[in-house]
């Protein structure tokens, strides 16, 4: 005996037809065989029907879709899915859903029906299915099968492409920064100041000058070339002197000295001149005996240093070089200034840059008494230091 069970909702009717099991006189006994199931949506002409296979697929699809709609997490397709599941549901947009069913006709045709549902119609379909599932008197073997989805199905909040963007942006910024920072040259590290800390030692200045000058033939002028060449050339252009004539000689000299390794800190003419200017306020040494002793020692110091510098080959300049030199009480050259153009150009041919010592603390007023000399380097190699009287200095300044 066939019997019909009907689940009626405002927007969906689900009818299940089947054979009664057991006592045929008891209308409440469950169905055993589903002959036909039909799903229709009042108000529309849409109608889906099929056998048990269709009903099972409908229940499964609708149930999973309802869960994904509730949670917002998409349910994965069945792992053991057959090529074309008989019933599918998919989003059309936020509030519309498409129900598609493929039924197999007895003659082999597989017509598919597509029905568009809104949220309320879909809910009624879900509710009809739920009522069928809850109904123990129709198909007790069909029950609600819902379980939370595993973590691995969780949809990331952002799509993968969107999540990759910040990472790529970060990496490309890093790469761009690396390229830009690669372009400027690596700053050259000059360890000289660290290697000769005793040079800055005021007390031992003289001893070092004397002791080292014997084994280090003033390589400083080579180093100096690079830094002072610009300065002296600029001055030379403005002074319109015979710079072109002098340059080759300077280069030769540099070549000569290139094989020496020892490096002595040197003071370029500009810094030395500034130092000299600062010293103009210092107390002059007035004691005649002291001045004479300083004069003699300065002359011999300079002569020794010049000999070392030129390696005994004699001076490399044609004109007398005249400098104003400030000297401390223990014959340390504290500053110098050229008095003629040749003196500026050929300053590297003299030992002055290497012998000059500028105190680190330049801001404080010099309290050490100084003496000033006019030092003349003759082309013949003679060095003459001549005392400059304080009165003359004042007039000159």
């Amino acid at each position: 005996m066939t019997i019909q069970r009907q689940y009626t909702l405002p927007n969906c009717n689900l009818i299940v037809e089947g054979l009664l099991a057991g006592d045929e006189s008891d209308p409440t006994s469950p169905l055993t065989v589903v002959l036909n199931s039909e799903c229709s949506f009042p108000g529309t002409s849409d109608r889906l029907s099929g056998g048990r296979e269709f009903l099972d697929a409908l229940v499964k699809t609708v149930s999973a879709y309802a869960q994904s709609l509730l949670s917002g997490v998409a349910y994965p397709a069945e792992e053991t899915a057959i090529a074309a599941p008989p019933v599918t549901l998919k989003h059309l947009d936020r509030y519309r859903h498409q129900l598609m069913a493929t039924t197999t006709e007895p003659n082999g045709d597989q017509p598919s029906t597509t029905i568009e549902l809104n949220s309320v119609q879909l809910f009624d379909l879900v509710e009809a299915v739920d009522q069928l599932l809850a109904d123990a008197l129709t198909l007790p073997d069909l029950t609600l099968q819902v379980a939370p989805l595993n973590r691995r199905h969780a949809r990331p909040a952002e799509p993968a492409t969107k999540r990759v963007v910040p990472a790529i942006a970060g990496l490309s910024t890093l790469a761009a920064a690396a390229v830009f920072l690669f372009m400027p040259p690596v700053p050259e590290f000059e360890p000289t100041r660290v290697e000769n800390p005793d040079l800055s030692d005021l007390v031992e200045q003289e001893a070092i000058n004397l002791g080292e000058s014997s084994d280090s033939p003033d390589d400083d002028s080579v180093d100096e070339d690079s830094s002072t060449a610009d300065v002296s050339e600029d001055v030379a252009v403005s002074g319109a002197t015979d710079a072109g004539e002098e340059d080759p000689a300077g280069d030769d000299n540099a070549d000569l000295e290139e094989d020496s390794d020892a490096e002595v800190e040197t003071v370029d003419p500009v810094a030395a001149g500034i130092a000299l200017g600062r010293l103009s306020a210092a107390r002059p040494i007035v004691d005649d005996a002291t001045l004479n002793a300083i004069e003699a020692e300065l002359e011999s110091d300079l002569a020794d240093a010049l000999e070392e510098l030129t390696a005994g080959a004699g001076p490399n300049f044609d004109e007398a070089l005249v400098y104003r030199v400030a000297v401390s009480g223990n014959v340390e050259i504290l500053g110098y200034k050229y008095e003629n153009d040749a003196a500026l150009e050929n300053v590297d041919q003299t030992p002055l840059p290497s012998l000059t010592f500028i105190p680190v603390d330049t801001e404080s007023d010099p309290d050490e008494p100084i003496a000033q000399f006019r030092v003349t380097f003759e082309p013949e190699g003679e060095i003459d230091a001549e005392r400059i009287e304080p009165e003359e200095l004042d007039d000159g300044e």
């Binding site: 309802a66 936020r94 739920d130 595993n150």
Partner: protein, 201 residues
């Protein structure tokens, strides 16, 4: 026999209808706390006396042990990380179950209204009209926006996403659809399981 302490409160049997999820920790994940509070917010937007009804229903369902009163309800709802006065307290599974049952119960009461609003929204969409053309729908949306903005911390990333009226309307309609699915025969089971989608191990 003398007892020194009152008998331990056993969790109400109605909670047994919802299976415990196999979570990595004993507390509810963040999304569960947010979803439950937002669903209640939607109920409050539908029904002005929603929070009163909520307490009454929890009494009717025998859930006093889990939701003893207004303060506890507020504390439970404040586990939503989006809230201004968000509590760091965890939300226990029993509390989440209780809220799920109460939400479904209240949603069932509001079935007619929920269906009306969703059908009305569908019609407005078909005619390309804005939600304000439907009086009750517009009312629901504006009340939801007001409640949301009053209670949620606008500096939170999750709240910033709903900074515009349109975004909030979308959220309100999404919650309305979820409430509709809660009204069904299997509403509590469906809602409960959907809460933990993508969270269980």
């Amino acid at each position: 026999m003398q007892v020194d302490s009152p008998p331990a409160l056993s969790s109400p049997s109605i909670l047994e209808t919802l299976p415990p999820p196999s979570l990595p920790s004993q507390d509810c994940p963040r999304r569960v706390r947010m979803d439950l509070d937002l669903l209640i917010l939607a109920i409050e937007s539908l029904d002005v006396s929603g929070s009163e009804a909520l307490l009454k229903v929890s009494d009717q369902l025998g859930l006093q042990a889990v939701i003893p009163g207004r303060v506890q309800l507020w504390r439970i709802r404040s586990t939503n990380p989006m809230r201004r006065q968000s509590q760091r307290d965890p939300l226990s599974i029993d509390q989440a179950k209780a809220l799920t049952l109460v939400i479904c119960f209240l949603a069932k009461r509001l079935t007619v209204l929920i269906r009306q609003l969703l059908l009305g929204h569908q019609q407005l969409q078909d005619q390309n009209l804005s939600a304000e053309h439907h009086f009750r729908l517009g009312d629901y949306l504006s009340r939801f926006r007001t409640l949301f903005r009053a209670r949620m911390n606008p500096k939170r990333a999750g709240v910033i996403a709903y900074s515009t009226d349109d975004k909030l309307n979308e959220l309100a309609l999404m919650l309305l659809t979820r409430l509709l699915f809660c009204t069904g025969t299997q509403g509590p089971q469906r809602l409960w399981n959907s809460l933990f989608d993508g969270e269980v191990v």
